[in-house]
Amino acid sequence: MGLQALIYLFVGLSFALYIGIAIWARAGSTKEFYIAGGGVHPVLNGMATGADWMSAASFISLAGIISMQGNDGGAYLMGWTGGYVLLALLLAPYLRKFGKFTVPDFVGDRYYSDVARVVAVICVIFISFTYVAGQMRGVGIVFSRFMQVDINTGVIIGMAIVFVYAVLGGMKGITYTQVAQYCVMIFAFTVPAIFLSLQVTDTFLPQVGFGSKVAFHFDDGVRMIDKGTYLLHALDQSVKDLGFKAYTESISGTFNVFMLTAALMLGTAGLPHVIVRFFTTPTVKGARISAGWALLFIAIMYTSIPAVGAFARLNLIKNVQNVDYQAFSKGEAKHLDGTINNGAWFKTWEQSGLLAWNDRNGDGKIQYAAGAAFEGNGKPQFTDKVGAHGERLTANPKPTHTASAEQMRASGKIVNELYVDNDIIVLANPEIAGLPNWVIALIAAGGLAAALSTAAGLLLAIATAVSHDLMGKVFYRDAKTGLSKLSEKAEMRWARLSSVVAIVVAGYLGIYPPGFVAQVVAFAFGLAAASFFPAIIMGIFYKRMNKEGAIAGMLTGLIFTFGYIIYFVFMGGNKADYLFGIAPTGIGTIGMILHFIVAYVVAQMTPPPPKEVQEMVEMIRIPRGAGSASAH
């Protein structure tokens, strides 16, 4: 069967599976819609949380980022897993005992204030939308690269699928679909990782291969790296030879790595679509253990990601360094051991714009080293023209300051001629490694599973914030009893209506992405760290915290973080003015500290919370009597 047919088969089968599950797990009540009835087994809930958490970015981009950054990529690995320890120890069991449906529910009730509730709702909506835009784009990209469908058509197909199972099934449909999506995703990531590990190091498990010896000789362009060298030694040596910093050395410095890791961890523990997963377990004990399962399932992928990154960087150097472009792209080039080094993949991904070659020294061979291969902003601006060797030509400005082609050749120094997009590391890996077609088809299905599962979780968080918190608890609240005047059916209608609106908005953002999708991810984490994390922690561990302190703290954290990111990312603030040299991606950590300080000081100056709220805090702390979650 051809590659295209296989891709359609795999993706089609996975979609049929998701829709089948959605029909089987329809939500009949608000409780099922919001928290899957509160009866999801901890292991299944852990799996669903893993799928919810691991997005298109984790699946497609993370290995590439780490491959290019080496040591500093550890910030993402530790940040995106370490947050679960905070969740399990500091949030999950207590929020489960609290026994309502959403994060704004907790903030509003614990701080006995609609202002706090509405601030929380706005945060949920903002954080979730910034995130979901990237997911829908991810769906479109996978469709367009693997299935030759237009990106916009891809986004619309993705919207339709999510529509079916999120609107029909609510949290119940999403949870069971995510369990299936986790399986698809982990299989799709692990199979190529194992193949690669076997090829590069003769070791089965990528996690072990990471610390094993390289199974072949290769020429990094400066020296020969011997077979039997430890993988990380080989990598350190060859990237240093090519003018990069050693793979295991820090590039951006200890302090910035520290701040970024902290912001990612605290942000993870404050993201509403993740927190809400722990409302769905049957018991407090279940919530704790479920966080453990979730992290275990996440770690299976996250511990192989850095290994894949390292294998891929080594493979890239081995395959492209000093290879003749024409012979390579026709599949006539050879490795040192005489086997064919087929560069058909290079052509494919050059077509999609993720790779580009600029024959700066005019020798017809590809050279890879540190530095930009293209003038201007470093990214290739492709034209329709084809160069002397069959490569795609670009419209980038001619270099003005660099040496001529003759001088470059005469100097004997390697000058970088290659543009590599980070995403290529996962997307093209199976082809680079010469793996069978069904593995490539698997990557397409896995990428879609990663993007769809995260999108669905986020959309539900948005819909719930609108229908349950805003409509039920603010607009349609009975002034006397404090309860929602909406009937169960009416609230479900609002929930379904708001998920439809949310999907349409998310699809719009996927089709017309705001030019800054990549930067706004910093927003989501920074805001979650600076707004929800401290407010919830103090709500549980500091009984004296009152509404004045909480509102002042949330607003301080929000405004500070928001302002800092806006100023430095969107208004062209100068890097030299960074507060203590902290990049905007790590500023959430400072926002969180300010939040804690302001909240504490204000709470000291204002009256303590009412008695029933203090009793509620005591109730949350003791597991007994958790029962099942209830609406009112």
Binding site: I66, N71, G73, G74, L77, M78, T81, G82, Y84, V85, L86, A88, L89, L90, P93, Q207, F210, G211, S212, K213, Y230, L231, L232, H233, T248, S250, T254, V257, F258, T261, A262, M265, T283, V284, K285, R288, I289, A291, G292, L295, L296, A299, Y302, T303, P306, F541, E618, R621, I622, P623, R624, G625, A626
Partner: protein
Amino acid sequence: MNQEVAQAYWKENIATIIKLLVIWFVVSFGCGILFRDALNSIEFFGYKLGFWFAQQGAMYIFVILIFVYAKMMEKIEEKYDVHE
């Protein structure tokens, strides 16, 4: 339930959390970031130790920490008879 038991339970709970969070901090921010350079002088299987903590070790320990926490809390809750 009486107030003293609830307070004693809560105290032990907090002590457990602090113990585990110290380990959490040491393996990630400590070994993986702050003391990375010092640890990198130790090497096994081509891994520099600091690098290993940042890209592998910290994650394994995180998983173990959560399961250990769940187990410890189960025991504490039975001891104070506050389990579900």
